[in-house]
């Protein structure tokens, strides 16, 4: 669940923008913009870090609990029996760090059970376990 890696990427990107801006608009302006963007990036990464620290999940006997959010705190309880399918995705940045996102789909559009930044092995384990549990507890509509 740690995703400090993604944070570093953001910082690198932000600093890069600053340098490009500095080359095009003069050294002084470039320095100021680098300082500002680095500060912004750090604040942003701090927010991100807090956000990802707050992301946690728990596999219980009959349901999965996913809690997330710092400003708006959300907690979802999704029974395994209600799961329609599990989705595992990995974007290019996530792949770079061998991470993936597991998402649980139910028939309700609102139920929000997404767990980003899992180690690939953990994601695969979770996927298999959820599928297995979902199969054995499946309930109709």
């Amino acid at each position: 669940m740690r995703r400090a890696e993604a944070v570093t990427i953001t910082v690198v990107l932000v600093a890069l923008f600053g340098v490009v801006f500095g080359v095009t608009a003069g050294a002084a302006a470039g320095l100021v913009s680098v300082v500002v963007t680095v500060a912004l990036g750090l604040t942003f990464s701090w927010f991100l870090r807090r956000r990802f620290r707050a992301w946690r999940y728990q596999e219980r006997h009959e349901d999965l609990i996913v809690a997330r959010g710092v400003m708006v705190q959300r907690l979802s309880v999704v029974p395994y029996g209600r799961m329609q399918f599990v989705e595992v995705t990995a974007g290019p940045v996530e792949r770079l760090f061998h991470l993936s996102t597991v998402k649980l789909h139910t028939a309700a559009a609102a139920s929000d059970a997404r767990i980003p930044g899992l180690e690939q092995t953990e994601a695969a384990r979770l996927r298999d376990r959820l599928t297995e549990l979902g199969e054995s507890m499946a309930a109709g509509m």
Binding site: E62, D63, M71, V72, Q73, R74, L75, S76, V77, V78, P79, G81, R82, Q84, F85, H105, T106, A107, A108, A109, A110, S111, D112, A113, A139, G140, M141
Partner: protein, 489 residues
């Protein structure tokens, strides 16, 4: 394809065709567009010679008539044991087999011209898909009704005789009340208000009025269409009780009859708009699952919201609700007074509560909406706490059911209460689900403990099993009645 089924009947026997008037009824669907084209071309041709355009119209009509006739020639259907087979298409052949056991609903639709010709369209929906899977347009009215009964009788779920159109009427809407209710809706008032303002403006500033009218014309027209749809769609609304669900018949020009199966109801909503409240009117809507296939992507899009009572009194609504969900009336409580700071407007009506089988909540200020959710349909339970709620020590608990919009919201509750609610509702919905899928105890074995189980005869939702035999006690949606048990086979 497997060869396991019974031998199919000889390939060229038992086919039926659609009604011979089908091509005319199909061309009739184009009639409004054609008339519109004719009017437009006539207006244009005042200046020039417009005979060519009229010729085009005649050609279009002829071509569609010929196409309709060919379509009728190549379309045929027949019942093959437990499947209905429909074949159509001259160039691109289309052959469908609809297993009777999977038929979810059979709707009869009668567009205006078809009604004049005495024919109707049969739409067949299968479990596992939201849309129409099979369509027979058109059959004679008697044939459509007969085939509908035949198709539904092949249903494995209901052993009880399937009702014809004569069921127990549950609710109906008379024309006067429908007119009044549509008139008292926000959109109508806006349209009438705008027209009135324009008329007044026309007295003083004719030029400005004409310009504004030109700009607003499109919006006014589309609003008028919406109003007209409401009026014609819900005209002569009647809901009839049937063993398989509530049957609805409605429509002015096009008659639609559809079925809402009890078991597929995800949520029931009673809406009381501000302007209806002085009359004590309300609207009752249900969210019905069209069934969702596994591995099917899409976020529960197959749930349809249907008005089961477009406008009616509280008693009508309560009567219907009793039939749909067994009139659950859990005790409702209001959120703590400090929630007024977070929700100054909607606080007035906010309340929510739950019992062991249902959750109910009231939200909204202008449109007061009461939502009932059967806990066995719960998809997930969420607790959300926003930055405004945290300092006030409040949190909202959502009970989600299938679909995009349907949910019960316990809005702005005490934090301890919210935590307790999440735990309680999770446990209760788990129990409700288990009750739903407990296997039927085999008759004769007294091993199964006494309790409520799915009715083996299929007439009711549940039947009480006591000391090795079925009793006469049955329950539908939590409401208990009695009906003699079927003797064991």
């Amino acid at each position: 394809m497997t060869d396991a089924g019974p031998a199919p009947p000889p390939p060229d026997e038992g086919w039926s065709r659609l009604h011979p008037l089908t091509p005319i009824a199909r061309v009739g669907r184009l009639a409004p567009a054609l008339v519109l084209l004719l009017v437009v071309s006539n207006v244009h041709s005042k200046a020039e010679n417009g005979t060519a355009e009229t010729d085009y119209l005649i050609a279009i009509t002829l071509i569609s008539a010929v196409y309709g006739y060919i379509h009728w020639m190549v379309t045929r259907w027949r019942l093959e044991g437990d499947t209905l087979r429909i074949e159509t298409g001259l160039i691109r052949k289309d052959s469908r087999r609809l297993p009777l056991a999977r038929i979810q609903a059979v709707d009869i639709v009668r567009p205006f011209l078809a009604r004049l010709l005495g024919v109707s369209e049969l739409r067949i929906r299968l479990a596992g898909s939201g849309s129409t899977d099979g369509k027979l347009a058109y059959l004679s009215e008697a044939q459509a009704a007969e085939l509908r009964l035949l198709l539904l009788a092949g249903h494995v779920d209901t052993e009880a005789p399937v009702s014809s159109n004569t069921g127990l009427p549950m609710a109906s809407v008379d024309t006067g009340r429908l007119l009044a209710s549509v008139f008292l809706s926000l959109i109508t008032i806006i349209v009438i208000g705008t027209v009135a303002v324009l008329a007044v403006l026309d007295q003083f500033e004719p030029k400005t009025a004409a310009a504004v009218a030109g700009v607003l014309a499109v919006y006014l027209l589309s609003a008028a269409t919406v109003i007209w749809r409401r009026l014609s769609g819900q005209y002569a609304f009647i809901a009839v009780e049937a063993p398989e669900g509530v049957r609805i018949r409605r429509g002015l020009l096009q008659t639609i009859s559809e079925t809402v199966p009890y078991g597929r109801i995800q949520a029931v909503r009673q809406v009381e708009p501000l302007l209806w409240r002085p009359f004590g009117w309300c609207r009752l809507e249900v969210d019905v699952a069209g069934a969702t296939g596994r591995n099917q992507r899409g976020e529960g899009t197959s749930v349809v919201r249907k008005a089961i009572l477009p406008v009616g009194s509280q008693q009508d609504s309560w009567h219907l609700l009793a039939r749909l969900l067994g009139a659950p009336d859990p005790e409702r409580t209001a959120p703590p007074g400090r929630a007024r700071l977070k929700a100054p407007l909607s606080f007035h009506f906010l309340s929510a509560g739950h019992d062991t089988t249902h959750a109910v909540c009231v939200t909204g200020r202008i449109n007061r909406a009461t939502t009932w959710v059967p806990l066995e349909k719960t998809q997930s339970i969420r607790r959300v706490q926003g930055p405004l709620q945290r300092p006030l020590g409040l949190a909202t608990v959502h009970v989600d059911v299938a679909g995009k919009r349907a949910r019960a919201e316990f809005r702005d509750r005490e934090i301890e209460e919210a935590d307790q609610l999440v735990a309680d509702l999770t446990a209760l919905s788990r129990r409700a689900r288990q009750r739903d899928r407990t296997p039927v105890p085999a008759a004769g074995s007294d091993a199964a403990p006494s309790g409520w189980y799915p009715d083996p005869a299929g007439r009711h939702e549940q039947r009480y099993w006591h000391e090795g035999r079925w009793t006469e006690h049955v329950a539908n949606g939590g409401r208990r009645t009695s009906d003699a048990a079927t003797p064991a086979p």
